[in-house]
Symmetry: D2
Subunit: 141 residues, 4 copies
């Protein structure tokens, strides 16, 4: 672990002020799994009262980014190269939590798996994503 929960929160606050309006919150980070949650309000809802796909993609992308930062440190220029997401069930109007873990952490590519849950339904995930991040060659940071 290169950055702990407090360091990640400070980084998120400083580098992604535009994320503040999403009110993401790191629930836990133990060096293996990172759990990121967000409250749901009207802004994220689609017709039929369901959370929009883009909201879940944003949560998945941010969880993967924090996981990578937590493991390799503040490489602000790591960029997503691929995201694949399957939407599994209609989430309720509850807060969402994304659980991120690393499938592979290589020198130039990191591949993370993200499972998104609607609070109170731990058995039936609402979405499953895999993300690939390209890691720039180390020099400074």
């Amino acid at each position: 672990m290169k950055m702990d929960k407090a360091a990640l929160e400070a980084f998120l606050e400083r580098e992604f002020p535009q994320m503040r309006e999403m009110r993401f919150r790191i629930e836990s980070w133990d060096g293996k799994r990172l759990r990121l949650s967000m409250p749901i309000d009207d802004r994220h809802l689609r017709p039929g009262g369901t959370v929009s796909g883009p909201t879940m993609m944003t949560l998945a992308d941010c969880a993967a980014y924090l996981l990578i930062l937590g493991l390799i440190g503040p490489v602000a220029l790591a960029v997503t190269t691929n995201l694949n997401i399957n939407f599994l069930r209609k989430p309720g109007v509850h807060s969402l939590s994304a659980e991120a873990s690393m499938l592979k952490l290589g020198k130039s590519l990191a591949i993370a798996e993200i499972v998104i849950y609607s609070d109170g339904h731990a058995d039936d995930p609402v979405a499953h994503a895999t993300l690939t991040y390209s890691i720039p060659p180390a020099k400074a940071a």
Copy 2:
């Protein structure tokens, strides 16, 4: 074509007020291809001055949704089941345009291809996505 450009714009305005802040604009829709653009401002930028991945995913998802509506009418409950996106190049701080076309329009599944361009660079797309939408059995609309 079941809905023309004006009908799609009215639908977008009515059903997705939360999209208004993204300032999406349908540039063209000819029954085959739909082009959706958005201006870029600070809110969409990541460290390094690049447009965030989630911003492009949101644009791709909305373009695919409008394409399907344009072809089959106001089926508000069509839902995304899968999105795969490859980020190809760092977009500049220009407006983005997504060009959406249909790979397959079946009775229960629609699969769309979306290519995203940074304005002024028509040869080098910044992202490429495929989206699958599940279409509910027709009854009303």
Copy 3:
């Protein structure tokens, strides 16, 4: 569980004779997880002594198919609509095992997750895939 291990093996043998040459073997099936293995020989190798991507895709697709059959019975016409696979590590020249579990089993869509391991390396999967199958409306079987 609609079909047990023996029933799946009989189905595989009868309906997919062309799979016989891959020598797939169901290692276990408990109603939740299905494990399918295959020996590796020269035919599956690429330059550099690694197992080819298509070999792993075939294994993943077959494991997902058997998982669905095991859960819903011999719906021979269920068809793959989407496959996404990330190759994580170079597998050794060992037999491969695919562990398949269901992310969602709906009426018209089933989404499975497959993790592929090189024998003897249970901690570091060599590939991760998600597959979507379209399930035809039930009538006969």
Copy 4:
């Protein structure tokens, strides 16, 4: 263009003898688009007389690999890191052709798009894939 059609064919023959049984044939390669075809016989068929998914994945992967080789030369160790494929229509029992073009050719990643057609149906592709290849740092070749 680093390798022409004849050079690619010789490479395929030499390095992938196991592909010979698939009887892949490069139909055309102009430095932008590569078209690879294969005859279909019983071995590739699934119940219901349709071409198997893995057969189309193998064709897509090989077309992307040849495209990359054609553009950057015999980098035999380029490896697939991600494949996403959508199956669009049931192909007939005709030969298949894959048309490959490059979405991005970077220093360490190449992303290709592959559209697969069933012969005689040029308007309605049977599958659409995107593939990412990781390119090892140049030293020899």
